[in-house]
Structures are given as C-alpha cells and as structure tokens.
C-alpha cells in the first residue's frame, strides 16, 4: 500500500529535527517551513482521498447491482464490534488532538501520556478488527481463500424476517466480502503504519522532542491519524449499518 510513502514521514520529519535551529536552509522563516510541510501533508491526504475513492466507487456500483447480497452480507457484521471500534477510533482521535495540544503547550509528560493512549487505542482497534476477521474466516466468509455461500442460502437466525438468497445471488455476497476486506484491510494497513509511526513518536517524545516549539511532525502525524479516523467514520455505516433493515 502506501506504506512506502508514509513510512518516509519519519525520515522527513526527522530532518527537520536534526538541524539544531530546525530551519532548513531553503526556507526563509520557520513559519514558512511549517506552513509548507502542513500544506504538503494535506496534499498527501488528497491523494489518500482519491486512493479510497476507487474502492468506494466499486462499493457503490456493486451495492446497486447486488443489493440483496450486500444486505445479506452486512447482516453478518457484528454491529457491536463496529460500534466499539468507531468509539475507540474517535477516542484515539481525541487523544491525538490532545497530544498535539500538549506539544503546543510544551508539556512533555502530557504529550507522552496522550501519545501512549493513542497508541493503545490504535492497538485495541486493530485487535477488535483482527477478532472480526478471524470470525469471518471461521464462518467461511473470506472470498478467494475460504468462502462458502451456505450462510446466505439459508435464513439467518438473527434476521428471521430475511429470505434466503437464491444461489446465484448468494454467490454475489463474495462481491460484498471482497470489498469489505479490501476496504477494512487497506484501512487497517493505514492504522498499522500509523501505529508504527506512533511508536517512533513516543520514543522521540520521551527523549524530549516536540515540546520545544518544533512540532511540525507531530502535527502532521495528527492530520494523518484523523484522516484514517474519517475513513472509518464512512466505512462503519457503509459496511455495517445501512442495510441493517432491508
């Protein structure tokens, strides 16, 4: 995935920190430098929007085509897990925002605390996601690797009002699950990258970085983390919620 691109951030951010005056030779002022890297980060996030855009397009098209299959597929999502994960991510976004605030107000302890909390929440999210994936594996809902349409050709006990899908439509639940794994997988990959960078950040913060007024890197990472949160904010209703009733 974009790990290559994102993994570069530490290196790049690092650069801004090696030089003692923090100012790169080609920038006139620190403000200019900060604005530039902020702007650069936003442009990078634009590319991320388009990156997910392709997958969202696919999702919308196939949802239109194989509506019953998408409904049936999403009925196998665990809404409690999705809700929990949404909450976890929102909390982590909040702690991340607070981390940035702590860096701004130069409080090293608070910064460390909030970063660790964010890291922890990130792991919780990934854990829950892994649990869900494991379940889907056990239920034979992984297209291409381990898939069976059995669950969809029979009435789902939790949704007794549902009708079983005809076999041809049941096959199409693979489209749903393909996109489900694709979207959540790419999202989780972003989380993974985020978590790795967080580890690095915590290490640096522990050594005293970011609380001396030079916090561009942590700010930019915050943008990244919130962005990943936003993606999930859309994935959650699309994959778990909107078909709860049909």
């Amino acid at each position: 995935m974009d790990s290559q691109a994102i993994a570069t951030l530490p290196e790049h951010g690092h650069a801004e920190h090696e030089h003692s005056p923090h100012l790169h030779h080609h920038f006139a002022t620190e403000d200019q430098q900060r604005e530039a890297s902020n702007f650069g980060m936003w442009l990078f996030l634009l590319t991320e929007i388009m990156f997910f855009g392709g997958m969202f397009t696919a999702y919308l098209i196939y949802r239109n085509w194989y509506y019953p299959a998408f409904v049936a597929g999403s009925h196998w999502m665990k809404i409690w897990a999705g809700t929990l994960n949404t909450t976890v991510l929102i909390c982590s976004s909040f702690t991340m925002a607070m981390a940035v605030y702590s860096a701004e107000t130069r409080k090293r302890k608070a910064l460390l605390r909030y970063l660790s909390l964010t890291l922890f929440l990130g792991f919780v999210f990934l854990g829950i996601k892994a649990y869900e994936w494991h379940n889907e594996w056990v239920e034979h809902h992984v297209p291409g690797l381990n898939f069976s349409i059995n669950d969809f050709t029979h009435v789902d006990p939790r949704y007794p009002l549902d009708k079983p899908l005809a076999p041809d439509m049941a096959e199409k639940t693979q489209s749903y699950f393909s996109l489900y794994f694709l979207l959540t997988g790419v999202h989780a990959l972003h989380m993974l990258v985020g978590v790795s960078i967080l580890l690095f950040l915590i290490f640096n913060a522990w050594k005293g970085a970011y609380t001396t007024g030079h916090m561009t890197f942590i700010e930019n990472f915050g943008l990244y983390w919130h962005f990943v949160d936003i993606i999930w904010i859309f994935l959650f209703p699309l994959l778990y919620l909107i078909s709860r009733h049909q």
């Binding site: 702007f39 291409g144 393909s178």
Partner: protein, 553 residues
C-alpha cells in the same frame, strides 16, 4: 536594488570555479544528494536508460512489421514487445522525464528558491522510481508481460501467465514517486517563490508544471488502487473485475482511464511549458496573451478529469455517458488550441532566430496540432467507432507524445543544456538532428494514419499484405528516427567535455534561472533574489545589461 548577479558575456566566459557539479565528488555525493539539480540529473540518467529500452522495443516492433507475416518474432514475443514498449515509454520515460528532470532542475531556479520544499522527499521519489523501475526490469528480464500498457481485464487477470504482478507493482511504486514529486512541486510553487515573484510574474513554465502536479496528486492514486486490485485478483482471486464472479470489467476501464487520461496531459503540459519559454526567448518577445496561456494550462488540467471515458466509446458504456464524455473532450481541446495560436502569434513582430530549441518548438507546434486535431477526430463519437483500436490511434498518440512531447523535451534539453552543464552543444549538429527527427517522425507515423483509416488494427503481429507498403514506409521512418535520436545522444555527451563554454546567459534570456552562473551553485542564489520584473521582460533585460555594461565600463 536587484540582487541578481550578472556574469560576463559569453565570449569571455569561463567555467565558474564552484558549481553544483563540482561541489562534491564521488558516487555517494550523487546518490545521497539533496540538491534538486543533482536529483534532476539522476532522473535524467534513469529515464534515458528506459528510453533506450523502449526505443529498442520500438525498433523491434517496426522490424517485425516490415513483412505482413510477422516473420521476425513469434506472436507472443511481439505482444510482449509492444507491452513493454508502451509501459516503459509511458510510465518510465515520458511521465517522469519532463516533470522530474526539467521540473526538478528548473522550478526552484525559476522562482528564485534555494531548493524544492522537501529535498529529502525528492530524493526518496527518485529511489521509489528506481525501485519501481527494478520491478519492471525484473518483469521484463524474466519473461516480460503481454497485457498491453492498458492491462485490460479479464485478460490481464485471468488469461495471461506472464509477469503482470511485478509489472503492476513496478508501476504502483513508481506512481508514488510521481505523487511525491507532485506534492513537492505544488508546495514549492506556493511557498518558496522569491520576494516579488507574484503568480503573474511566474514564467509560464511554472504554470504548466503546477497544472501537471495537480494531475499527479489527484489522478495517480486511482491507478495505484486499480493496480492493487489487479494484483489481488490475480493472487487471491477476489472478483471485483471478473465477470465470472459478478464483477464488471468495465469498472476497470473506468478506473484505469480516470488516471490514464489525465496522465496523457501529464505527458504534454510540461512540454507546453518548455515551448512557452523557448518561443518567447527566440522571438525575443513576451508570450502573446500571458494570462490566457497560463489559465489554459490550468483549464486543461481541470477539464482532463472529465473526459476519461472517451477511451471506452465502443466498449459498452451507456450512450448518454458517451455523449457527455465526448462533449467534455471537445471542451478540453479548446485550451490547447488557444495555446497553439498564442505561441504562433508570439512570433509576430518578434526578432526570430532559428537555434535548435526553436526548431524543435516548430516541430512541436506542427506535430502537436496534427496530433491534437486527430484527437478531436477520435473524440467525435461516430468517427471513433471506425478509428478506435486501429493504427489511427497509434498515429494520434505518437504525434502528440513523440511529435509533441518528445520534441518539447528535446527543445528543453537543448535550451537548458548550457545551464545544466555549463557548455554549449554543437549548434549545426543540433539543427541537423532536429531536421532528421522531423522528417523521420513524419515518415514513421504519417503512413499510420492512412493504414489506420484503412482499418489495420493495432497490436497486430501480422497483417493483411495490402497494408505492407505503408508499413514499410513507417519502418523506414523509424530507422531515420533512430539516427535522429542517436545523433543528439552522441553530441550531447561529447559537448559535456568539449563543448564551448556557455556563460551564464548564452541565449540572453530574461528568466531568473539565466541570471545566475551556469552551472549554478548548489544553493542556486548566493543571496535571495528580489524580483522586480515581469516574466519575459526583454526590455528589462536590455536595460539591465546596458547598466551592467555601463557600471563595468
């Protein structure tokens, strides 16, 4: 008031003692450099290497098509040849060469910055590009891929067993290099302009690179995800594009062309930037209608996002969609027309000289107009039915890409060669090469329009015998072309050591990059320049030189 340094004129010029080329020595100083100029040169080396590969493939393609039976190579070898040719030429030569080489070298110099905004990211882009290139070389050496450069599904996902995965990953990785380059340029142009360098004082070159960067940032991610889907489909068999699993292969086309149409403008906009500079300099005139040209660059970039399905007119998209996309394609052609006319009128009442870059610009203007107008033919729905997937399309895109963009790259390379190396190329040979290229080009690709209208399909290893005459002409032209490319390769290399010393401003051009020594210092400007003149301000330049002479005298 102006802090721009002016060096002695050409006749007495010597090579400056200190420059970005000799500030450090050794391979390591190049491979770890953060200097945008050196990174530009690194890109130049790699892209030219890929051009040789792509060119060799083209030579083999043309040789094979000498006879209708295609006796030279087997059918699947031929398919690999054009696939490699297309993939290499597009993703590893033409998309990177102009932005990454000329853009890297010139953008900071032109806007009066010391470097691009993120030098480390810039170096990383180069490494990503090289990594992507290695994937591609791996795929080529271990057997190649035969999907065409368009990776049409379900062919590429289920029906060929060549190295599609590594080829796709190579493009994926190289794509990130494009994205990062785009991000870097946009931030640089927004944030690092020298004091006084307002948007409308920027050279048009910068405008067109700005537009290109927008395309990089917004379009490239879409092909990245599309290639990921292709790889997943091959490796684990998810069915997003597979009709047998309820997927839609046309969705692939949509996503692919959402990138690849804007990508064709990535392959022309930088060239347009070069032409603006060259035409202005050798007419000694401000570009006619600066604002119109600047805005048409941006307009092309914006509109190019709305036209992608013109590559799918006969593929079963809805007819209503086809109408909309055809209409948008007509609209996107207008800004190009504006530019062509503005450049031509720039010459009006100019004071024109025919140096090599100018000759290449002429060939750009002529060939791009023909290529563009045939593009309009393709955009016309009913006409496209007959023309699509024939050699007419092949001729169209070679006219715009080779006749247009490669000419522009040649123009740019010659124009800034003295700035890059500090030495002049041999002018007579340069003019000769430009003429050979022009003739060879037309001989190669004009017959393809005819054979295309006759109906000869593209990507054919063998063809009906009545098309042979035209194909032989085309092959003959390709040999002329090969000479036309090898000649500059030889004399440019020669000139690096033996060329005349150029001096800071051999063309007496007004751009900021010409006001510093050549080759420039690592830090470009000893002190930050202050810009108090418009772009292409030849009167300013004249006054400036006069006062310089007076003070010296």
């Amino acid at each position: 008031m102006s802090t721009i340094i002016s060096l002695p004129d050409q006749s007495t010029a010597t090579l400056p003692k200190r420059s970005y080329l000799n500030s450090e020595y050794g391979l390591k100083s190049w491979l770890l450099t953060l200097d945008h100029k050196r990174i530009g040169i690194l890109y130049l080396i790699v892209t030219l290497f890929f051009f040789c590969i792509g060119g060799t493939m083209a030579a083999l393609i043309r040789l094979n098509l000498l006879t209708p039976g295609g006796e030279l190579v087997a059918a699947d070898t031929y398919n690999k040849l054009f696939s490699i040719h297309g993939i290499i030429m597009v993703f590893f030569f033409l998309v990177p060469i102009a932005p990454a080489v000329l853009g890297n070298f010139l953008i900071p110099l032109m806007i009066g910055a010391k470097d691009v905004a993120f030098p480390r990211l810039n170096l990383l882009s180069w490494y990503l590009f090289v990594t992507g290139g290695c994937f591609e070389l791996y795929a080529i050496i271990w057997g190649g891929m035969d999907t065409g450069w368009t990776f049409t599904t379900p062919l590429s996902t289920h029906y060929v067993n060549t190295h599609v995965v590594s080829a796709a990953l190579g493009i994926f990785v190289a794509g990130f290099s494009s994205i990062l380059t785009g991000v870097n340029f946009i931030v640089t142009i927004h944030r690092l302009r020298a004091p006084g360098m307002t948007w409308f004082r920027m050279p048009l070159f910068i405008w067109s690179y700005y537009a290109t960067s927008i395309l990089f940032v917004l379009a490239t991610p879409v092909i990245a995800i599309t290639l990921v889907l292709i790889v997943l489909e091959r490796v684990i068999g998810i069915g997003v594009f597979d009709p047998a699993k309820g997927g839609d292969p046309l969705l692939f086309q949509h996503l692919f062309w959402f990138y690849s149409h804007p990508a064709v403008y990535v392959m022309i906009l930088p060239g347009m930037g070069v032409i603006s500079e060259v035409v202005a300099c050798f007419s000694r005139k401000r570009v006619f209608g600066y604002t119109a040209v600047a805005f048409s660059s941006v307009a092309i970039a914006v509109f190019s996002f709305f036209v992608w399905a013109h590559h799918m007119f006969i593929m079963g998209i809805s007819n209503y969609s086809a109408l909309v996309f055809s209409l948008m394609t007509m609209l996107v052609a207008v800004p190009s027309a504006i530019k062509i006319f503005n450049w031509s009128s720039t010459m009006y009442k100019g004071s024109i000289t025919f140096d090599t870059p100018m000759l290449y610009s002429f060939s750009f203007i002529g060939l791009f107009t023909i290529g563009g107008m045939t593009g309009v033919m393709l955009a016309s729905l009913g006409m496209d039915i007959h023309l699509t997937e024939t050699y007419f399309v092949v001729a169209h895109f070679h006219y715009v890409m080779v006749g247009g963009m490669v000419s522009a790259v040649m123009a740019g390379l010659h124009f800034w060669w003295p700035k890059i190396t500090g030495r002049m190329y041999p002018e007579p040979l340069g003019r000769l090469a430009a003429a050979i290229l022009f003739i060879g080009f037309n001989l190669t690709f004009f017959p393809q329009f005819i054979v295309g209208y006759l109906g000869m399909p593209r990507r054919y290893h063998s063809y009906p015998p009545e098309f042979q005459v035209l194909n032989v002409l085309s092959t003959a032209g390709a040999s002329v072309l090969a000479i036309g490319y090898l000649l500059p390769a030889v004399y440019l290399l020669w000139s690096m050591k033996y060329g005349k010393i150029a001096g800071a401003n051999p063309w007496q051009a007004p751009g900021l990059e010409w006001q510093v020594q050549s080759p420039p210092l690592t830090e470009n400007f000893p002190e930050p320049p202050v810009v108090d003149f418009e772009a292409y301000d030849f009167e300013w330049l004249a006054n400036h030189t006069k006062s310089e002479v007076q003070t010296v005298g």
